[in-house]
């Protein structure tokens, strides 16, 4: 394979070291950003200006960092859950819907369940986890018991969740105080998360995300359950052979991943919004962006701490472009789509290493 560069050749390496994978991924992201700049140019915004805007809005000052952190919180929670789901071969693209369901459950507790003040927030998170998880279980059950492809079902469930929440906020749960708007009433103070002063960074959710990332990492690598999830994900036939209950594993993985998306939904409504509203304004497509967060971790939940931050920069960058350059927020989809395309396209490249010298010189 040394046609173009005599002296250099590509050598197949089925077991690439992590550093090379990371390098290839970094190059893929760079390539995606370059490709996106072509599109900005077509849109009529100079790429330099576009990226300068993103930088200024995100990493240039503390305010930008706060925006990035705020976006990183739900991306982290969902990304951790999706990493686990993908590891167990449950291709969950329904995080949008699970997040909306979580937000709904959290809002329901905040608005309608009288609880002692210190218990309100924990109860909201618990309800959000439960409903998000149960919602994911619908698709997992159909996959495990009937064999229905979960990609389509989780996706369809997104739209169904959307309409359920819309129904509530325009109907039974519509707020008394804000006439004419599709909102619920504002949450009582005990149902609102503390935030870093002057920002919208609800730090308890952030801590929750980091803790869960570490816990799920340990679950995968250090427990028998994690071993089962990995076997089911890598080779279901071997799992069956070894007597691992595949259906139960898929259900569990779905429950956890949906539950984490639900937690993300609670976090958003309990801090930034302080009410339930049109779910597309809560989820903002983060359920899809988190797919890339998870993809980048290569199956390691703890790495989502970094990859969620990375995608949060993109996401916050999208916010900034919308405000400063009046570009539609869809620009985030362009980034996400391109990054995912470049990432999967580049993945096989990690299996090659560049070598100097003739054949077998290194053997």
């Amino acid at each position: 394979m040394n046609k173009a560069f005599p002296g250099l050749r590509l050598e197949y390496d089925p077991n690439p070291p992590r550093s090379r994978v990371a390098l290839v991924f970094a190059l893929a992201i760079l390539a995606a950003l370059l490709a996106a700049s072509l599109i900005f140019w077509a849109y009529g915004v100079s790429p330099v200006r576009a990226y300068a805007t993103i930088f200024e809005g995100t990493l240039a000052d503390p305010n930008g960092w706060a925006t990035v952190l705020r976006r990183a919180i739900p991306l982290l929670l969902i990304g951790v859950g999706l990493t686990l789901a993908f590891r167990g071969q449950f291709f969950n693209i329904g995080a949008e819907g699970q997040m909306a369901m979580g937000a709904m459950a959290g809002a329901g507790v905040a608005l309608f369940v009288p609880l002692p003040a210190p218990l309100t927030l924990p109860a909201m998170f618990l309800a959000g986890f439960a409903l998000g998880g149960l919602y994911a279980l619908i698709a997992a059950y159909l996959k495990a018991r009937v064999g229905v492809n979960e990609i389509l079902t989780t996706l369809m469930l997104n739209y169904i969740a959307y309409y359920i929440v819309i129904y509530l906020v325009t109907g039974p749960w519509r707020g008394k105080s804000l006439f004419g708007f599709a909102f619920t009433d504002s949450f009582p103070p005990q149902a609102v998360l503390p935030m870093i002063p002057g920002t919208l960074v609800h730090w308890p959710t952030l801590i929750l995300g980091v803790v869960l990332a570490v816990l799920l990492q340990l679950l995968l690598s250090r427990t028998t359950l994690g071993y089962e999830i990995r076997v089911v994900g890598e080779n279901p036939k071997a799992a069956q052979y070894a007597g691992i209950n595949i259906g139960r594993t898929v259900l569990l993985v779905a429950l956890l991943s949906g539950g984490l998306a639900g937690l993300a939904g609670v976090g958003e409504v309990a801090s930034i919004h302080k009410k339930l509203l049109d779910p597309s304004n809560i989820t903002l497509g983060m359920g899809f962006t988190a797919i890339i967060v998870a993809y980048l971790t290569r199956g390691n939940p703890v790495l989502a701490i970094f990859t969620a931050f990375l995608m949060a920069v993109i996401f916050a960058g999208g916010d900034e472009m919308k405000i400063s350059l009046q570009m539609p927020f869809r620009v985030v989809d362009v980034f996400s789509g391109l990054m995912l395309l470049f990432l999967i396209a580049s993945e096989p490249l990690a299996n090659y290493r560049l070598r100097r010298g003739g054949s077998d010189a290194t053997r």
Binding site: N15, R222, T223, T224, G226, A238, Y241, I244
Partner: protein, 509 residues
Amino acid sequence: MGQPLLRLHNITKRFPGVVANDGVSLEVFPGEVLALLGENGAGKSTLISILYGLYRPDEGEILLEGRPVRIASPTHALRLGIGLVPQHPMLVNRHTIAENLALGIGNPLFPSQRIVPLIEKMSLAYGLQIDPKAPIHTLSPGQKQRVEIVRSLLRGAKVLILDEPTSVLTPQEAEALFAVMRGLRAAGKSLIFISHKLEEVLAISDRCTVLRRGKVVGSIPTSEASKARLAEMMVGRSVSFDRKRAEPRLGGKLLELSGLKASSSRGLPALRGVNLQLRSGEIIGVAGVAGNGQSELVEVLSGLRKIDGGTATLGGQPLSAGPAQLFAAGVAHIPEDRIHMGTVPSMTVAENLALREYAKPPLARGILSDSSALEANAQAKVREYAVATPSIHTPSRLLSGGNIQKVILARELAGQPKLILAVHPTYGLDVGATEQVHKVLLDKTYEGAGVLLVSEDLDEILQLADSVAVLYHGELKGPFPVGEVTREELGLLMTGSQEAGSGGREARA
């Protein structure tokens, strides 16, 4: 004899670390059957791949009717008149024979309809008996092979390479194939018959060329060949065809099946009342053509499939639990598909060695895995079974087939299994690995285990088993003590009838 139709001269093909073909020369004349013999890894597959345009030789030349040719691709090979009947048929299961045969050469409109008369003509000429409108998935392995033969003939093949064509056939089906081959030979075609079954080679070929470690060790007329001589040429030392089995030490009743019934994955009856008794220390071979209930039998016994009727007991206890419980009860399972069922290719050797006991002490404490115990377990097993692996943290997919099988043996036979279900345990392994697998299985029987050896390879069964049973269409005939049956009788039982040929068998999954 005139000019050879095909001549290979000094063909050499190297791969990193191996010389697969080393100065191979051979020739085949019109109207001749040349047998190409060799152990696994002797270079037969490489040579076929070169002839069929999949590999380019590093050195040497190929002469077709005296003219040098460079075979660039399988299609090019076909255009030159070289056809291959592959070991595993390359057919579209859901399409009809006609649709398969029209692929790539049919008319632009109604391709499959217009090719029907051609197929019928060909079928008649060589006694192939195929129905162009039959879907492939309804055919027996022998019929599929004939479709492949017609495919080559339709494309004007003068040289036909048959790659281990009898490996999936009953002796009777093989006989029918030989009749077709004789017809082709009479029509002046050149046939290259690849096999390691010596009886067949002696029965059908005119000349034998033997490969060993990439080199031609000799080429002799079949009339001068004998089994012993060919075998010696193949493996390079004189081989005894004696049984490997020493006198068994039979113990008490171990496995008892009575009226056992089970269904296939498609819900059709697959086992129709199987009766069998296996004593500890005993090896019973289960012969039969694939798809007659072997998979279902093994799955039932290993807990992967539920019992529809009848009983199965192991040491008096009913066998009705999941695979994990049955393993704990002493059922070891060496599965047919060692890569996709027996291991998780992307996981490490150490993790694969833990597939059975990962949740039990010492590998786990409560819900926590103990990684040092996992490593210690792997080190011990890798040493005991001499698994050649760079490290216990190497993904198992990077191991050779023989070493993957050793990983499985090490794991399955670790405790003191009572019942060993061994399915095609040496399929595709080289001589050394085969020897080791056989030895391990035999040793375990001397320690008291009973073995159910499911194999399509009668030779293997006859070498190892104490008695042999035949599964045909979900019914088990036998077992018969190995000394009291002939291959021919077994072959007839495998076809379920007294007739030779492929008739009478139902569609296979």
